[in-house]
């Protein structure tokens, strides 16, 4: 079991290195990469914004309820900002990304495998790792932090909407305490996390697609695995990174 997992991690690592040898596509075929940023990013935008709003609104409600017990509801802005920047933004975005963009990456590449399109490329002396996988992996890695940023902005708006507009927290206190308490390190933590989640979720998605059994059932199974593995991996990496940032 552990041996299996380790050898699997090794294979995924080797796959990552093989794909990243083609990282030059960013410069040689920028249009392909931009197209994949659009595919992974723009198409997840609506669901990311919607969920960001709801998560922010819940933060506003729960945060207010918690803080007013200590008479410090003015700190709602700080609480919401830190919660979103450091945790909820990257994690929830990554989970949504796995379900929306990750699955479509896996099934797209898996279907290309099942219909011989990848083999056909190899016969045409075109490396599918370069033509198909690299732009998708890099597009996903670039898209994730951008989506997290959007999620955070909308989330803060949602928290403000409930906390300030509905619950009556003072606008000035909400924003000025947030400005005063949030440090660059907090922002960095969020950026590092969203980058790592971007690599993990995109890598799992393209790996599973590329290695899917070339049948309908195989592609379906690979898609499921993408969601499960990405989600577990995201939460695991989240814990490790949180511990690392707090331990400094």
């Amino acid at each position: 079991m552990i041996g299996d997992t380790l050898s699997r991690i090794g294979r995924v690592g080797i796959f990552l290195v093989r794909v990243l040898r083609h990282a030059g596509v960013v410069f040689t075929e920028p249009r392909a990469v931009v197209h994949q940023i659009y595919n992974a990013g723009a198409r997840s935008l609506v669901i990311i914004m919607l969920c960001g709003l709801f998560v922010g609104m819940v933060l506003g409600l729960q945060g207010y309820d918690l803080l007013q017990r200590f008479g410090s509801e003015d700190a709602l802005g700080v609480a919401a900002a830190l919660g979103l920047l450091k945790e909820l933004g990257p994690v929830v975005t990554a989970l949504l990304f796995a379900g929306r963009a990750g699955t479509s990456l896996t099934s797209e590449i898996g279907l290309m495998r099942a219909t011989d399109q990848l083999t056909a490329m190899e016969i045409m002396a075109v490396d599918p790792l370069r033509k198909v996988v690299a732009p998708r992996l890099i597009g996903g890695i670039i898209a994730m932090p951008l989506l997290v940023a959007v999620f955070n902005v909308i989330g803060l708006f949602g928290a403000q909407l409930i906390g300030v507009q509905v619950m009556g927290v003072d606008t000035g206190a909400f924003w000025s305490q947030m400005q005063g308490a949030v440090e660059l390190d907090d922002v960095n933590e969020g950026i590092v996390k969203s980058f790592c989640f971007g690599v993990a979720c995109s890598l799992v998605a393209v790996y599973e697609g590329y290695h899917a059994q070339p049948t309908a059932a195989g592609v379906g199974l690979a898609t499921t695995r993408t969601v499960v593995i990405s989600s577990v991996l995201t939460l695991l990496i989240d814990y490790i990174l949180t511990a690392a940032f707090l331990g400094r």
């Binding site: 083999t119 056909a120 190899e122 016969i123 002396a125």
Partner: protein, 281 residues
């Protein structure tokens, strides 16, 4: 790079397979196969489904390596080439896949242009002329702007053929080009294969189990069965062969040396049993 083999090959075989052994796990697919594809000729490889015809093509194109034996293409030993070497060989090959294998997110035009864009920097105007010429050759110039999902099976295969010849290959490989086509599309493909071969001097390898279609285009046929070449010769020679397995294959009888039934236990016992003691391999 050694020049001698390439010169020698120009006189005779473009593809030369010697003593080929290959298997999946413990299951043997090839047990000593020898065959050759002569320059400028159409060579047919026939055999029942599951004999390993597609696997043979994967070995010739360097996608998998044999357990033993040699595979020589254009005078170069494929088994000892690195990835770059295999890719440079493949630039001289075109392959037609069973289902076309068109890239589904590109139009017909872009599919045919794909290998050209990948390997050559041509002005857009020249590229357009080249692609439209090839599409015209397969009778589908008018379909250039369609997407693969809008094509019938026969059209998709013709587009794939245009894509396979767009780089002017020296060797064209067809995997089951006639399967699932209506008689008209079938006739079109049959004619295209022979025309391309005669007009462009391309060496062709056609894998199929459609004996009659092959007979009209092949110069030389190989019959594979049980991991070996059981017979080879011109279509006429095969037709006249006294070997039972050749007779069965050429005339399409369902049972004979090639059994109709996959190996199984006793039919009667199997039907009456509860299924639990079914032998598993």
């Amino acid at each position: 790079m050694p020049e001698e083999p390439a010169v020698a090959a120009s006189k005779e075989a473009v593809v030369r397979v010697r003593g080929l052994h290959y298997g999946f796990g413990s299951r043997k697919i090839f047990d000593g196969v020898d065959l050759e594809a002569a320059r400028g000729r159409v060579t047919a490889v026939m055999g029942p489904s599951g004999t390993g015809k597609t696997t043979l093509l994967r070995l010739i194109t360097g996608q998998v390596a044999p357990a033993a034996g040699s595979v020589e293409v254009f005078g170069r030993e494929v088994t000892t080439l690195d990835t770059a070497g295999v890719y440079s060989l493949r630039r001289r090959m075109g392959m037609l896949f069973q289902n076309g294998a068109l890239l589904t997110d590109l139009s017909v035009f872009e599919n045919v242009a794909f290998p050209v864009r990948a390997h050559a920097r041509l002005p857009e105007r020249v590229l357009r002329q080249l692609v439209l010429t090839k599409l015209h050759a397969v009778g589908l110039r008018g379909a250039a702007e369609l997407m693969p999902s809008e094509l019938s099976g026969g059209m998709a295969r013709r587009v794939a053929l245009a894509r396979a010849i767009v780089m002017d290959p020296d060797l064209l490989i067809y995997d089951e080009p006639f399967v699932g086509l209506d008689p008209v599309s079938m006739g079109v493909i049959v004619r295209l294969i022979r025309d391309l071969n005669d007009a462009l001097g391309i060496t062709s390898i056609v894998v199929s189990h459609d004996v009659r279609e092959l007979a009209s285009i092949a110069h030389h046929s190989y019959l594979l069965s049980g991991g070996k070449v059981v017979a080879h010769g011109t279509p006429a020679e095969l037709d006249a062969s006294p070997l039972p397995i050749v007779r069965q294959f050429m005339s399409g009888e369902s049972d004979g040396p090639v059994p109709f039934h996959y190996p199984a236990g006793d039919y009667h016992a199997d039907l009456l049993g509860d299924g639990k003691e079914r032998p598993r391999s």
